[in-house]
Amino acid sequence: MPVASGLSTSGVRRLPVRAPRLAAPLLAVILCAPLLAAPTPSARILDLLNRYDHGDYQGSLAELDGPNGREKLRTTYAETAEFWIGATDRDLAWRRTLVAASLALDVARDLRPVRGGPWPGAPLIVWACDQLRRHAPPTPVAAERWWYLASIAELEAHDGWPLLIGRKDALALALSVSPDNSLQRLAEREDEGGHVGYASARFPDEPRFTLAEIEAREQATALLAEPVVTATALLARDAIRPPEMAELQRLAAAAVAFAPQSREDQQTLRDRAVARLSLARASLLPDVARDLGALARLDEVRAEAELHLGYLDVRKQAWTAAQTHLDRVTRGTDDPHLLSLTDYFDGWIAQNLGDHESAIEIYRRALSRTPGARWASWPLASQLLMTGRSDARSDARAVLNATLTSRDDTEPLLAYYSGDAWRLPEYLGQLRAALGH
């Protein structure tokens, strides 16, 4: 991946590989540990940690994917891992901390929320981050950087935005997250700056951490922060309109049960959410745009910063300015993910300008990049129908029929608002490589 591979690792110390000769005594300590410590560590987790430490990533992951996989480990993982880290000398404790923190990412990432609740993997990441901070040597190591990148991507994939920015942007948290959200309660225990703040403290020159922090603030202004999210035409609904402040403040303050049953109460909840979003947009986006502008001067993240600047202008219906930023993305990257998002926004601009032919060309190009994508095929068909051409209907019908059987239901705006989630596999791979074995 162009961006990740271009990141500087200068000044970052390589992690010492675990010394094999210590394995036997350590194993003895571990095996004896259940007799000495209370409560009893999980033998299964100890086995997983040791296999992971030996580089048996495939075996460990297969075990996690099995019938007694992640869910059964979740509640006891931290306790056993802390025992495992503590059961060695000071030199190896840091490596074990990194190993345990890395395995925590693998345990957490496929955990599923229960009945619409928050992502249960978040506490594991908070625990792992706490361990890293506790055991970190003065000089950061490469694996640590990859761990932070992967953990941020994992939180972004699971709407863990409050944790990412901690209490630094209390306004954003207050506006975007329900008081009942346990992720926010978790975030309130974090230091100023949140998870990204810890990462930046260790790697102050890493622009991806700055980008993550900005994305977290931007996300707080997005439609997706609504408590009742529907996936209809997200681009249209994510637009920024001049707020009517008095009305918005009245609606934002409306009291309503968190899980209202009546349609009237549900409507009030939605009104309040929309009002809060509008207030958040008015308050936060100017600074977001300013900070993105600064990031756009850095080669490592220029394309992404320009993409975000472009979309901010799309939301404001500043089509020409948006087009300028998106053109810079197209010229500056060959990354399929970023180009696909650029097509998405470009198509939206063209159709809002009533330029059917340009929109058709853009959506056709998008379909050639991502065959079967609903987000491109339906707008393409609509634009074809709106041309009034005699052959348009058969063309549109062919486009749609080709998509009906497609399983690609990707909604690009959801991907856009998921930060680096799409890079998670790459980050985990780099993390394991940096751990060595």
């Binding site: 529907t230 996936a231 209809t232 009305e247 339906w378 707008p379 009034g388 209907r393 749609l400 009906l404």
Partner: protein, 315 residues
């Protein structure tokens, strides 16, 4: 041009086919048709840019028969046009039944299946029908086919969200060809929560494609009466109001009834007995959007309801 019959030969063929069909299928209407068609063919010479407009005229719920081209006034982008032919439309009809099978219809899916079969039974052998279902996905359950063939509807089941905007775009993309008309009847609660297509796109497409769409909204999902929110309507409500708008712009309407078959019968009868006006635009540039305004100028015109699509895109 979205709907124009570009060749006069096509138009004459349609008129002849219509006349033959009517004569064969309905002797009483056939007499009326022969008189009207003979009178109009004597004077009608369609140019290459002839435009066809389906017009429904009713007195309450009762279609008004017997009107001629002289009884209609039509303006294209504000310029009065000469209606060159008005036919009681009897050309074959392609019917798209669009059924919302999202989770909210779970309790009524069995009735929907029966309703689909009974709706098809109301069609004539010359008509065709297809079934499109929509939940979080759009599916063509069976393609356009004769109504007396077996309808494979057993697999219909409820579940998921509603991508009704997308489904309507899909329905409008059907091309019936020059010798048939397209009627879309959508049964839905109108609350979209899964579509890629924004509500206003449905309205724009409905305005530009010469299919007539009627929407049957189940009473159980009657619109929530609220003033529009300053910061914008919720997606579902915006979707429903757009669906209403789209239906009206296509020349159709919205019906709040509990009996889907009765609603379909009313829609189909109305559509079958609607008029088709033909005119060749004069005094307006061909390219661009054309607003159409159709009115009836009979003595009792004030009591009549006239529905026609609101315009078309020029070539």
């Amino acid at each position: 041009m979205g709907c124009g019959l570009r060749q006069s030969s096509e138009l004459i063929w349609v008129l002849i086919a219509s006349a033959l069909t009517l004569v064969l299928s309905d002797p009483v209407a056939g007499r009326a048709w022969r008189i009207e068609a003979a009178r109009q063919q004597a004077v009608f010479h369609a140019g290459v840019n002839a435009v066809r407009v389906d017009v429904s005229v009713s007195d309450g719920h009762i279609p008004v028969p017997g009107l001629t081209s002289a009884d209609f006034s039509l303006s294209d982008n504000g310029v009065d046009q000469s209606v060159e032919a008005a036919a009681i439309e009897t050309v074959p009809i392609d019917v798209t039944l669009l059924v919302d099978t999202s989770a909210s219809t779970d309790g009524v899916i069995a009735r929907f299946k029966t309703a689909v079969q009974r709706c098809a039974d109301l069609l004539r052998p010359i008509d065709r029908v297809r079934l499109v279902t929509v939940s979080n996905r759009v599916d063509e359950v069976f393609p356009m086919q004769r109504p007396d063939r077996h309808l494979p509807i057993a697999t219909m089941q409820a579940g998921g969200g509603t991508a009704v905007n997308d489904a309507m775009i899909y329905a409008f993309a059907w091309d019936p060809g020059p010798d048939r008309r397209h009627l879309i009847v959508a049964f839905t609660d109108g609350e979209d929560n899964e579509s890629t297509s924004p509500p206003d796109t449905v309205v724009a497409v409905a305005s530009r494609v010469d299919a007539v769409m009627h929407v049957v909204l189940a009473d159980a999902y009657a619109p929530l009466q609220r003033a529009p929110l300053a910061a914008g309507q919720t997606a579902e409500l915006a979707s429903r109001s757009a669906i209403v708008d789209a239906a009206k712009r296509s020349g159709g309407d919205v019906h709040h009834v509990t009996d889907a078959v009765a609603a379909f019968k009313e829609v189909f009868d109305d559509f079958r007995q609607s008029y088709t006006l033909y005119y060749t635009p004069r005094g307006v540039p061909v390219p661009g959007w054309h607003d159409i305004l159709v009115a009836v100028r009979t003595p009792n015109a004030a009591h009549l309801i006239v529905r026609a699509r609101k315009g078309y895109a020029g070539g």
